[in-house]
Amino acid sequence: MNALIVAGLLLVLLGVAYQSGWSRSRGLVTADGVKIHSRPQYHGSFVAIWAMVPTLVILGLWAWFGGGITRDYTVSLIPTDIMTSLDQVGLNAAIARIGALASGYGVTGDSPAWEQAAGDALRSFQMLTFVGVLVLALVAGGAALVYARSRIDARLRARNAVERVINLALLACSAVAILTTLGIVASLISEAFRFFTFIHPFDFFFGTVWNPNNAGSAGNWGSYGLLPLLSGTLMITAIAMLVAVPVGLMAAIYLSQYAAPRLRAVAKPMIEILAGIPTIVFGFFALVTVGPFLRDMGNLVGLTINATSALTAGIVMGIMIIPFVSSLSDDILNQVPRTLRDGAYGLGATQSETIRNVLLPAALPGIVGAFLLAVSRAIGETMIVVLAAGNAPVLRGSPFESVATITVSIVNQLTGDTDFTGPQSLVGFALGLTLFVITLGLNVVALYIVRRFREQYE
């Protein structure tokens, strides 16, 4: 409710400010017939920005510090004799109860008189501060509005100022993405280092046994060897790529070069729907259908294939990734200039020769990019592996056996009660960091390949 009131008032202020700047600007034109530097819309935006900045700053400050101030006030409402009898937990409980009484929600049972009084006092305090802060913000905004409006004249460079603000806003938006990435990386690294204070990095990166002791304590943490998980991840990814790349690429070639337009119009969206199926559904499909099927097929030819194995997870993951490969490759093939195709046809090349010798080489950088994107996707995939790979973190070479991957082990270590004080849960960060480094490395390689081919071919 309060948030709605604030938003409504802000909108009103915004509209009033814009309108007042705009009308004053229009007045300039009619009054002296001079040429104004910025168009009225810019003057309107200029005043609106001026009005919004102090308002938002004051509201933001209150959002930041208001909670602490309210808490301090609440604490001051508790009588001193009761205060002395409360420990930290009791104090927090009391503050929560007073807050509940003030808001009128979530109060259970009777409450002593002092709590009732404190609740009432808090309610009027909250009301007062809310109105006070809002009025203060609006007054500041209004003052800024009047000031900005008074600055409007024909020579005011409102357009430049507004565009600078827009520029900053755009910068802030891209900063969100960048800072988030940096923040995640920083937390991964620092937590991973905490993990390495328990387990030596050598034992982690080169250990061949994965057997965390989840109930263990100092001296008995268990083994945290990465290699079984890494081999499982790489094996499943490789199988997935063996399925997805040929099928996806061929599908892309068919769709972009051979398919009649009407078929293409139907087939392309259909393939893209495959990309929209939730991965848990694929995992279910792998567990219930593909795994038993592979096991039976293995029996027929005398192979022992586990129903939940690297093969099952890899094949299903490959099917899941087909649309990525085919859709990206299709776009890339269509971007190869028509003149190149004509050149090959003009020499008497057949369609398949043109595709193999001219189109694919020209599209190669893009296709490599698509491939590496698909690899990143496969390495990070979790749900299919959770269900279909069997979760056996053992170093094995056979794809017919159950394996575990890095992602699945993160899930295993971080689900349930975690307090992040021992290596059992902190290992999640080390594993996450490993995954991050692998995908980052792949992206760097992809960029390098794409750039190298581009230099050569354009």
């Binding site: 050149g343 020499l347 008497g348 090349a349 057949t350």
Partner: protein
């Protein structure tokens, strides 16, 4: 009118071996087109084109943009087959053989009728591989030595060999525009065609590169039947012995180049040459 004619005369002198007009008309006919029509979907692009293309001479198609000259050129090696919804009617005979005969192999046809495009379009391969590509797909070279020979002689004929002989393994796309176009000509020659079609081969080039290509075209007509589409009347006058003027999908007038430029019969041709239709 006189001024244009004078200019044409002047530029004709620059061509090394200007052919005698009567000599040109006595040349055997290589390609014969009769009542060729083209539809793109519901839209008709060509209305009954009939023309004879003489052997080992340069025939130019001129006309304003969208007049159908490139469309007709693309009929001659069936490049319109690769455009969806294009339908070609009428007959085109190469040495008396119908090129739209269903029994005819289009791949073989395109090996006999090479094509050079408006925009230089070297493949994303090395200079050597660009030229070797055609001979390779048609199995023209038995071994590496054969192939080297074909590549080098094709580059020589295209007047490019001296400029690129030290960097045959560098990408063809790294050459200048004019060099790229000559590479495309070498690529077309390497297959050993009898006819070379050129679709505005100089429109993306600067004047110097254009002059080099024009000189090359003049040399090539010793051995090849050349059909060139151009929007530059000066170029048509400089390089061709026979000229055909297209307008709005119709062939308006055709004849010995000199006659077309000095003494056009049709009013529309006159207007175009005088610069009144453009």
């Amino acid at each position: 009118m006189d001024m244009v004619a004078g200019k044409v005369k002047m530029t004709q002198q620059s061509v090394k071996s200007a052919m005698n007009p009567t000599d040109m008309l006595e040349r055997p006919i290589r390609l014969t087109a009769r009542d060729v029509t083209v539809h793109y979907g519901a839209k008709q692009a060509l209305y009954g084109i009939s023309i004879d293309i003489p052997d080992r001479a340069v025939t130019s198609f001129i006309g304003p943009s969208g007049c159908g000259k490139s469309t007709f050129l693309r009929c001659i090696n069936r490049m319109n087959d690769t455009i969806e919804g294009a339908k070609v009617g009428g007959t085109i005979l190469l040495d008396g053989e119908d090129i739209y005969d269903p029994a005819l192999d289009v791949v073989e046809l395109r090996a006999r009728i090479g094509m050079v495009f408006q925009k230089p379009n070297p493949f994303p391969k090395s200079i050597y591989e660009n030229v070797a590509y055609g001979p390779r797909i048609h199995g023209l070279a038995r071994n590496k030595t054969d192939m080297d020979e074909i590549v080098i002689s094709s580059l020589r004929k295209a007047g490019l060999f001296e400029e690129v002989k030290d960097r045959l393994n560098e990408p063809g796309t790294g050459l200048s525009g004019g060099q790229q176009q000559r590479l495309c000509i070498a690529r077309a020659i390497a297959v050993g065609p009898e006819v070379i079609l050129m679709d505005e081969p100089c429109s993306a080039l600067d004047p110097i590169a254009t002059a080099i290509i024009e000189e090359l075209i003049d040399e090539l007509r010793e051995n090849y039947t050349i059909v060139i589409v151009t929007h530059s009347m000066q170029q048509a006058a400089r390089v061709s012995q026979k000229t055909a003027f297209f307008h709005l999908g119709n062939l308006i007038e055709e004849g010995v180049t000199e006659d077309i430029f000095t003494n056009p019969v049709n009013k529309q041709t006159q207007d175009y040459i005088m610069g009144r239709i453009g």
